[in-house]
Amino acid sequence: MSSLTLVRRIRARPSIVFDALITAEGIACWWGPDAGPVLLAECDPRVGGRFRVRFRTLDGSEHESSGAYLEVARPERLAMSWRWAGSEDPGESLVEIDLRPIAEGTELTLTHSRLHDEETRRGHEQGWSGALDKLMRQFLVSAEEERHDRS
């Protein structure tokens, strides 16, 4: 579980979704974990080009994420490296976004992987994340039961 995958169905054609991912105007509308504002959005969406996005969350704290575009295949696939600026930096991770045309518009699959340090990355290559997934799920279940037992 050093990776995270999310799937979304969007009622817009892939090219429109793709442009929302790689234009400063698009990024300013969605980047971040809550309704706080995007303060700065710079992007150069070609292989080797970089992006930098600074945003403020509703608790008032500011965060900056940046990285390089690794694959830019409009409108199907976007891959970019990712890191947080400053003290939040846990190293470089990888974001991959695949867009598939469906009847209602686009199915977007996002995977954010290599989420933790060298050890994890090595382990990741050995395919441990699925097993770790199970462990974490199990842990959640047991923690849940523990709570029930106490109450």
């Binding site: 999310l6 969007i10 989420l115 462990l135 974490m136 923690a143």
Partner: protein, 117 residues
Amino acid sequence: MVNYTRQLDRTFAALVDPTRRAILARLGREGEATVSELAQPFAIKLPAVMKHLDVLSGANLITRSKQGRTVTVRLSPEPMRAAMEWLRHYERFWQAGLDRLAAYAESREAEAKRGGG
């Protein structure tokens, strides 16, 4: 934050090994077990199990207590909770981000259709 990151490093490093994950999974199910009970399912010698327990203990994932000749191992859930909480930050970031991305793209799609696109 630096200490927090260091603890996460230790947690994830400890979790890379399949034997250590199996030990944690069992402790997660059973709450506690003795060292010899933990060693039983594995085709490795007791000293090797002890080494794994040292790593888990160094990452604060387990605690050990000795009574006579029996060492009881317990799961120490806090670092696992912290690791999951850390992953949830990313999940929140993308869940909320993709919601807004979808809303933005859908409004652009509606504009394109109105414009005859």
